[in-house]
């Protein structure tokens, strides 16, 4: 490494100007624009990733969660109704703390369903619920968001997820289900990394 010849900051800056291969750029362009040069539209599945701006009250969330509980063991074409209900709620809720709570509520439902029935579809659903909870909790700001939730409330959501994952890890080990164990451990790893950020934050706040 020629660190004597040029400082690391300079190498890093030059890396930011490396020309992209033409075919790489064109492949990306072809996926973003159609043949007439108009932007393509997100597929319906991806569109769900974009937050919808319709506000909904806590009451609405709780009602939805209650309905989901009643529907826990029902399904349409193998897709649990509770999952559809959860997705319906997530489609209209934008606040990260509310979305996390909804995802964790559903994780509890999915856990219950998987441990009671033990069938493959239930485990698939549980795996999906773990990933979804991780995604939603990742959107939380560790220090909270003014007027929405505090750092302590954020910690409480993390703690709740951590408890659920610990419980799941034991259940997966007991059931000797390597796929579920893998999903749980991956989620725990992500959670640990995220929670570990509280340390440096606290340090830097004190500096």
């Amino acid at each position: 490494m020629n660190t004597d010849r040029q400082p690391i900051e300079s190498t890093l800056s030059h890396m930011g100007t490396r020309p992209l291969r033409t075919d790489v750029r064109e492949r990306i362009r072809a996926r973003v624009f159609d043949a007439d040069g108009h932007p393509r539209t997100l597929s319906p599945i991806r569109a769900s990733d974009v937050s919808v701006r319709s506000p909904i009250s806590i009451f609405g969330n709780l009602t939805g969660a209650t309905i989901a509980l009643f529907l826990v063991f029902s399904s349409i074409g193998g897709v649990p109704l509770a999952y559809l209900a959860e997705q319906g709620q997530l489609a209209v809720v934008t606040r990260a703390d509310h979305r996390s709570a909804i995802a964790l509520d559903y994780l509890e439902i999915a856990t219950d369903r998987a441990t009671r029935s033990g069938d493959t579809a239930a485990y698939d659903d549980l795996e999906r619920a773990i990933v979804e909870s991780t995604i939603e909790l990742d959107q939380l700001k560790l220090m909270g968001e003014p007027g929405r939730y505090t750092m302590e409330e954020c910690r409480a959501l993390y703690a709740r997820f951590d408890d659920q994952l610990d419980e799941l890890e034991s259940a997966a080990d007991a059931a000797r289900d390597p796929r579920l164990s893998g999903a749980v451990r991956a989620a725990l790893g992500e959670l640990d990394t995220r929670v570990a950020l509280y340390g440096p934050r606290t340090e830097s706040t004190n500096e």
């Binding site: 490494m1 010849r5 190498t11 890396m15 624009f33 990733d49 995604i135 991956a186 440096p200």
Partner: protein, 165 residues
């Protein structure tokens, strides 16, 4: 007169597609996946632009790509090895013979060192030093205070130097 939305978006693509690809590629090391991430992020930006004004599209794009990278790390454990060897060996940049060999080696070693850093450190190095986003922009993208970002940048650069020297 207000610029048509499609033009705004096309200009945004021309201005930021390359740098966004670099960001994704340096983080994940897989060209094809980086292409997917970047194209999906632009589509998401387009969807957002149609719904509401976006004050800083560049920062939003980085935020989206970053989210996608996190999702990818999250699912990687379930998919096993993620970078086919032939793809890892395939260059994504036009370095060719135009660049001196020692410079190419520099890039390769820095890329390798970046992947060895803790993700939160590699991220600030890429955003600030490679892509030259301001501390305020990095702060927006990461959802953290500028003070915290500065502290992390300082530590991250120190770690990178330790690795390379």
């Amino acid at each position: 007169m207000t610029e048509p939305l499609e033009q705004v978006f096309a200009r945004c693509f021309d201005a930021h597609a390359d740098e966004l690809f670099r960001f994704a590629y340096y983080r994940i090391g897989a060209r094809e996946e980086a292409e997917d991430l970047v194209s999906e992020s632009f589509l998401q930006l387009w969807s957002r632009l149609q719904a509401e004004p976006v004050a800083n599209p560049r920062a939003l794009l980085y935020t989206i790509v970053r989210g996608r990278i996190i999702d990818r790390y999250r699912t990687r454990g379930r998919r096993g090895a993620d970078i086919p060897l032939e793809e890892a060996a395939e260059p994504a940049f036009e370095d060719g013979t135009a660049l001196q060999i020692d410079v190419r080696l520099d890039y390769a070693r820095v890329e390798e060192a970046l992947r060895g850093l803790r993700p939160e450190y590699a991220e600030v190095i890429l955003l600030h030093y490679v892509h030259e986003l301001s501390v305020a922009e990095v702060s927006d993208i990461l959802g953290e205070t500028e003070n915290n970002v500065r502290v992390r940048m300082h530590r991250a650069l120190g770690r990178l130097k330790d690795t390379l020297l």
